[in-house]
């Protein structure tokens, strides 16, 4: 067997696992590993400007490809800076492996320089974590970390490696055995046969069914199967925020996003359904509104790889634990076997749904002299479509995120990248960088707000250094729009701490990095302007679009109501 030291084993095992890109930030506790990375022919390291940025980049890389994102940081502050990014990945079940340096084993527990209990600090926000107490643990723990991160309900895994375990002087056998077995960890993949038969019977019986897709469809690569089932039974399809891009938006059976800022037709269809066929969703509070009032007449079939997500909030009538793609394939087989056809009454259901659609809940009125944020997203989506560009779109969190979810038409899975679970402002820009590294020939757009963008704008340096052609669109309304809209409606327009006075001139800001920035204040040539920007395929552009401060995201579910207790933007029409 080959003899390697601990630091060499870190790099070698990553290479053997097929890792080609790492996002990180060095420090005292990982210098040995960085020294080995210096010679690696297979792994390219990207130096972020903040550890949170590094892990968000790995996150964007993972979300856009389905591969495990890898990041490496030092002990203490290096590790604590990643906590938000880990929690973001955990919230949306994204496969990541984070390697953290740790003080030497003899110093652990002595409050040493840059010592923090990384396992303890990160425990609630990771799927699992390892502390390598001896060098011999390193390779096997990293292999286990990849296995855990990328199977079952995916998620981030931390591997903490003390400095002395990386010791260059200590050589030991490198075990290149690639199979990993963890006796206490066996995710269920196949759905229970009896449950699948029951589900198919209910599906065929339902007069007013609806298919609800969540992030599990995107992360579980189950889009093709979803489309096949929806087509064969003529089912309407509704998506959660995380499910967006899991079903082609241009398909007439697609009704869009449900929930707090969901579309009128999506929420009404859910509420009036007699069967919900839910795949890879956890019925989160933003999706369901008050659980006790949720879809009163619906039988619920719930497919999820995580048994703890089933009947956690909404009780499932037919629970099926398993991998989304595998279970849907089983359902397709069963449908074929029983020669399943759309229910005879499905057209009556579609008649009702088409009435819901007549509400045109996303219509808005243009205002003179000021750009409406909806207009920006709608135009951007339209221009992309016309140019035949199928961009990866990342967002931050707030009004711009909801407008993107509502107005942008996503046709392919993994093309919408957003923080749904944790709601992390600051994910969008570094995630766009990660997605651009993973997809160098594709268009990557970051849609952000003037508040969110400032949370991780230090990563502009990466764009400069690697000449990444990311396009950033800032919906710049000079306020924290989402909080402000709460204040407008529920706090008598008392705008406490939502004014972003002191914003930089974003154009000059990016110019300081020798990057191109433009400001748009007038919607007269929005389409032409956007076309020009998107056709400049090789260059970064930041587009600072000055938008209306008073526009609210609508529809808007009333708290503690059902899914149809919606405020609509009637003033707009």
């Amino acid at each position: 067997m080959e003899k390697l030291n601990g630091a060499q084993q870190v790099v070698r095992v990553l290479e053997d696992l097929g890792v080609t890109r790492i996002f990180g930030y060095p420090g005292a506790a990982v210098t040995d590993i960085y020294d080995e990375l210096y010679d690696s022919k297979k792994i390219v390291h990207t130096l972020a400007r903040h550890e949170q940025g590094a892990v968000h980049m790995a996150d964007g890389y993972a979300r856009s490809t389905g591969k495990v994102g890898v990041s490496i940081v030092t002990s203490g502050p290096g590790a604590t800076n990643t906590v938000t990014a880990l929690a973001t990945a955990y919230g949306d079940s994204i496969p990541l492996v984070l390697i953290t340096g740790q003080v030497s084993t003899d110093l652990i527990g002595t409050d040493a320089f840059q010592e923090v209990d990384t396992m303890g600090v990160t425990r609630p926000v990771v799927k699992y974590s390892f502390l390598c107490k001896k060098p011999e643990d390193i390779a096997i723990n990293i292999r286990k970390a990849f296995y855990i991160a990328s199977t079952g309900r995916k998620g981030p895994v931390v591997v903490d490696i003390p400095k002395n375990c990386q010791n260059r002087a200590y050589l030991f056998d490198y075990d290149n055995k690639s199979d990993v077995h963890i006796r206490s960890y066996n995710p269920t993949i196949f759905g229970h046969k009896g449950q699948i038969k029951r589900a198919v019977t209910e599906l065929l019986k339902a007069k007013q069914p609806v298919m609800l897709i969540g992030g599990g469809v995107v992360q579980g690569e189950a889009s093709a199967e979803v489309l096949q089932i929806a087509k064969s039974l003529n089912l309407p399809v509704v998506s959660t925020l995380m499910g967006i891009s899991g079903y082609p938006a241009s398909d007439p059976q697609y009704l869009g996003m449900l929930g707090m800022h969901g579309l009128y037709e999506a929420n009404e269809t859910m509420h009036n359904s007699d069967l919900i066929f839910a795949v890879g969703t956890r019925f989160a509070d933003r999706a369901t509104n008050k659980v006790s009032k949720f879809c009163p007449n619906a039988t619920i079939i719930h497919i999820d790889v995580d048994p703890a997500s089933i009947s956690k909030t909404v009780t499932a009538n037919i629970p099926i634990v398993g991998d989304a793609k595998t279970v849907l394939t089983q359902i397709l087989t069963e449908l074929k076997e029983v020669d399943g056809k759309p229910n005879a009454d499905i057209n009556l259901w579609w008649d009702k749904i088409n009435v819901f659609k007549q509400k045109h809940c996303l219509d808005f009125r243009k205002k003179d002299g000021i750009i409406r944020p909806q207009e920006v997203i709608q135009t951007l989506s339209k221009v992309c479509h016309e140019l035949g560009i199928n961009p990866y779109v990342t967002t931050d969190v707030g009004q711009h995120q909801m407008f993107t979810a509502q107005y942008f038409k996503f046709e392919q899975p993994r093309h919408f990248i957003t923080s749904g679970g944790l709601g992390t402002m600051g994910l969008g820009f570094p995630a766009a960088i990660g997605a651009q590294f993973a997809n160098p020939h594709d268009c990557v757009i970051c849609i952000s707000g003037d508040g969110s963008f400032q949370m991780n704008m230090q990563e502009l340096a990466i764009v400069k250094k690697y000449k990444l052609p990311v396009k950033v669109f800032i919906l710049d309304n000079s306020v924290l729009g989402m909080v402000r809209q709460f204040q407008t409606v529920f706090y008598h327009e008392r705008y406490s701490a939502t004014n972003l006075d002191g914003n930089p001139n974003f154009v000059k800001l990016v110019e300081a990095y020798d990057l191109k920035g433009i400001q748009i204040t007038d919607d007269a040539n929005l389409e032409e302007d956007f076309k020009k920007i998107l056709l400049d395929k090789d260059n970064f552009t930041l587009v600072d679009v000055i938008t209306d401060t008073n526009t609210k995201v609508m529809p808007w579910l009333r708290a503690n109501g059902s899914m149809v207790d919606m405020m609509l933007n009637d003033e707009e029409k």
């Binding site: 396992m119 609630p124 699992y128 502390l131 206490s184 048994p307 703890a308």
Partner: protein, 167 residues
Amino acid sequence: MRHVISILIENEAGALSRVVGLFSQRGYNIDSLTVAPTDDPTLSRCTILTTGEKDEAEQITKQLHKLVCVFRVSALFEEAEGGIEREMVLVKVNTPNRNVRDEVKGLADIFSAKIIDVNAEIFTLEYVGTSSETDNFIQTLCKLAEVVEVVRSGVLGIAKGTHYMKP
């Protein structure tokens, strides 16, 4: 409702903190917790006593099972044949005079408790029973003598009959 949950976990650093962390993270109560390695030293057996609604207990078992370090989980009294629980208590009582000493000795006999340490002023007793039997023992003892210290082990549980938790 009272639930006794048995868990088999990997005997490794951080495993117990994940179990405990899960309870605090999700707002569940731990009324008692016992843990020790099993005959297989790579595994630890843990018994947790908790209170909550039935669906809450179900959610706890699911969440526990989801932990990578957790091998087996079962809610003892939801098993077909039910479960057996035991708790040990060590009690120190003041025994200032002969009268009290006799009373305490007599009570120990009735309860089949043992007097495991004796000196002129203080007796130390050991009692094993279910939680409610243990409660009863302590309460009765309190009426006869001045109890100065009580240490309870927390509940240990095992399934009845042919059921057993295999690794």
